[in-house]
């Protein structure tokens, strides 16, 4: 039997074809930086367990201008993560009914972002009080 050369639509760079896919990829890419930040904290905890000198080295690394600039970038990525996380929330959670009517997706997103804002301010105040 002859081999048929049927047309197969190439899938290379499929996510660059549509702004929707681009946003999807940007949202998924945040996870790489969530892992990177977790690794930075993990390194800090490991260095902390090794004593004051080891922790001092970690702190010095984190205090370098490159690190602070990178954390400014991380801050933007995490803010995007918060926004995109609550934007897809209406699709990832079971429908919620309030007073017999289904809660609108935009309400869920707004509530989530408001919760993140409150949690962030509360966290920062806690750091100030406890430190």
């Amino acid at each position: 039997m002859a081999f048929r050369r049927t047309y197969v639509r190439p899938m290379d760079g499929w996510w660059r074809r549509d702004p929707f896919f681009l946003r999807y990829m940007a949202r998924e890419a945040t996870s790489i930086f969530v892992v990177v930040y977790a690794m930075i904290l993990l390194a800090g905890v490991i260095r902390l367990s090794q004593g004051e000198a080891a922790f001092g080295e970690w702190l010095e690394g984190v205090s370098s201008p490159w690190s602070v600039a990178f954390h400014a970038f991380l801050l933007a990525v995490f803010a995007y993560h918060t926004w995109s996380w609550f934007r897809i929330m209406p699709k990832t959670m079971p429908p919620v009914a309030v007073g017999g009517r289904r809660l609108a997706g935009s309400t869920i997103t707004a509530l989530g972002i408001a919760a993140a804002a409150v949690a962030s301010v509360a966290f920062y105040l806690m750091v100030r009080v406890l430190a």
Partner: protein, 118 residues
């Protein structure tokens, strides 16, 4: 009996990590990566004694472990599924690389936090 899927476990860890990082990630990055190193908050400069006391407190220990391990599990799950979208069908290799990193990171975090003591 049909073999039950293990996906709900990974999805739960992914969701918990995603939620924690969505609620507190930006604030954490700001405190540990910008405010403390730049001395914007002189009283919270992440000095050795302060961080040690925080990580010796059971609540501080639990918080640090939750942040590190859940962030790792969140990332592992999302990266694993996005690899598939990019045409990488590594199967077991990709799975071990992603979830294995999260597992090892959690073990190292637990080990270090226990070594720090109470």
């Amino acid at each position: 009996m049909r073999k039950r899927s293990n996906q709900p476990v990974f999805w739960l860890l992914f969701g918990a990590g995603g939620m924690l990082s969505a609620l507190l990630g930006a604030a954490l990055v700001f405190v540990t990566g910008i405010a403390a190193p730049l001395g914007l908050e002189p009283r919270a400069a992440m000095g050795y004694a302060d961080v040690l006391a925080f990580s010796r407190n059971w609540a501080g220990k639990a918080f640090l472990f939750a942040v590190i391990s859940l962030f790792l599990w969140h990332g592992a799950h999302r990266i694993y599924h996005t690899l598939h979208d990019l045409g990488v069908r590594g199967g077991l290799v990709a799975k071990l690389a992603c979830y294995g990193t999260a597992f090892l990171g959690s073990v190292f975090a637990a080990e270090a936090l226990l070594k720090i003591g109470f």
